[in-house]
């Protein structure tokens, strides 16, 4: 991104600020996933309430990113890789806001799960959450480094999360069939697992945008095609 002169320097500064805002959203989203799952495993109602509260910051930041992107495009009319960077930032902000919503949804279920202590599959959720948070983290690290290869690796991790989801789905289904008393708690856990699985998908989306911003080419269907076949 070699630009020169006053105009270019100012643009670089604004783009840097934009990237920093997206990263800040990423940090909040990562913390929201960690916080929601920690609240779930510790039955920490206050922690869960904090996650719900913190989500407002993500919403506010998304609005700010949007406003900055509009101004940047209107005033600077960026082209080529600069334009790609700006568009990727806009799309990533939307995706990160969605990730925050999923984490918030998990946190909101914590008070409803106070009687879920004995449910075996509950112990698998933290591992699944770790794998998911790791994907988000890796995708944002790839964004910070503008590293297309690292972004491509993130998409491969999605399979791990999908496998977790499938195994949890089966385990919870068995659990519900064994004892109808478990249905309400198990359903909440199933939704939590589904939320995590969606977060994994969104991390893949981020990785694809990082790849696109860095290379100008969409991330090939090759990786995802094979994945989908294996996952099916």
């Amino acid at each position: 991104m070699a630009t020169s002169g006053d105009m270019g320097g100012a643009f670089e500064g604004e783009l840097g600020e934009l990237r920093a805002l997206v990263a800040e959203m990423g940090g909040l989203a990562e913390a929201a996933i960690d916080g929601a799952i920690a609240a779930l495993t510790r039955r920490d109602l206050e922690g869960a309430a904090r996650v719900v509260e913190e989500d407002r910051r993500l919403d506010a930041l998304e609005a700010e990113v949007e406003a900055r992107v509009v101004r940047l495009i209107a005033l600077r009319a960026p082209v080529d890789d600069n334009l790609r960077e700006v568009l990727a930032a806009l799309k990533m902000a939307g995706v990160l806001e969605r990730i925050g919503d999923y984490a918030k949804n998990i946190a909101k279920r914590v008070p409803l799960l106070s009687d879920a202590r004995g449910i075996g599959p509950l112990s698998v959720l933290p591992a699944m959450a770790r794998a998911t948070a790791e994907m988000v983290r890796a995708a944002l690290d790839a964004y910070a480094a503008r590293d297309a290869a690292a972004a491509e690796q993130v998409t491969a991790q999605d399979r791990v999360v999908d496998d977790f989801y499938n195994s949890l789905f089966r385990a919870l289904l068995t659990y519900m069939m064994e004892n109808p008393h478990n249905i309400s708690a198990s359903t909440h856990l199933l939704f939590i697992a589904k939320n995590l699985e969606r977060i994994g998908d969104h991390a893949t989306n981020i990785a694809e945008m990082v790849f696109y911003a860095a290379t100008g080419a969409p991330l090939g269907e090759r990786v995802r095609g094979i994945d989908a076949l294996v996952g099916a």
């Binding site: 840097g16 920093a20 990263a23 940090g27 913390a31 960690d34 983290r137 690290d141 590293d147």
Partner: protein
Amino acid sequence: MARGLPRLFGPRRRDDGGPRDLLGPLMDAIPDPLLVVDGTAVHHANAAARALLGAHVAEQDIRLTLRHPAAAALLAGREDGPVELTGLGGAERQWRLHAATLDGSCRLLHLTDLSAQRAAERMRVDFVANASHELRTPLATLIGFIETLEEANRPADAAVRARFLKIMDGEARRMQRLIDDLMSLSRIEADRYATPRERVDLAQLVRVAVADLRAGPEGARVVLADLPPAAAVQGDAGQLAQVVHNVVGNALKYGRAGTPVTVMLEEEAGRLRLRVTDEGDGIAPEHLPRLTERFYRADPGRSRAVGGTGLGLAIVKHIVERHRGQLEIGSEVGRGTTVSVSFPALPVS
């Protein structure tokens, strides 16, 4: 961009724009990750910071890399910390971040790795939980049998009483062994940094320990190979005897009934190696690295059945470490296990 920095880093060289004086190498020599920032722009990252956060960190906004919300106020310059962060260089790692103002908007960010400290805390918590659990199991059995015996005290119940008392005796002794092992483990740990100073004749010690073991149950299976004439090490005789007892005891417990347990002592390249081989079912490779953990059992049911405390090898490992020795466990499933312990030999006096 960096008004305060040229003075800090000396005049810049034209060719690579890097610092000319020793400040850069000095920062690289410090093992903790250090970053010099001006506002939020990274001006310089030392080698440890580049290794942790990636080489790209040096050219951009620090907020892209340190994304944790706890760091936001610190990076915005509103506070100096410390704050604790997770997720740098691996999901389980924990860091403490400090900021110090150098000059104007120019600040030094310092990351300290807390992972090892946190892991140690977790291990201690796990240990207490495990130990309590191990102590409670025999107690629960004892209480259960005592309650049953209260009802079965007619003369006709003599046979049942005898059987129950035998089980209770076994459980009580198991608990006693466990507490003995826990106490010897804590004694060994207490002086783990004090190198033992006695001169011990290892050949004589092995001979005595094996004679002891041969007098015990199943002891006839122990076979002692030829011992070297002089084999002195610097050590603690009581602890070294405990190593022989624990290792040979394990071999007797886990070797197949009726098969020999061979004890060898050999000298090689200035080291004395004690080798104990059994002919048993062996240990699957995935268990080998964890065998010396406290209360880790490759086969929990079997270990309890033969009266194991789950601490034997942990004690051996601690004693061997205190003696600057090495512990190796080799095993082949279906063939048997060889435990070898080696110590630096003392020259013949």
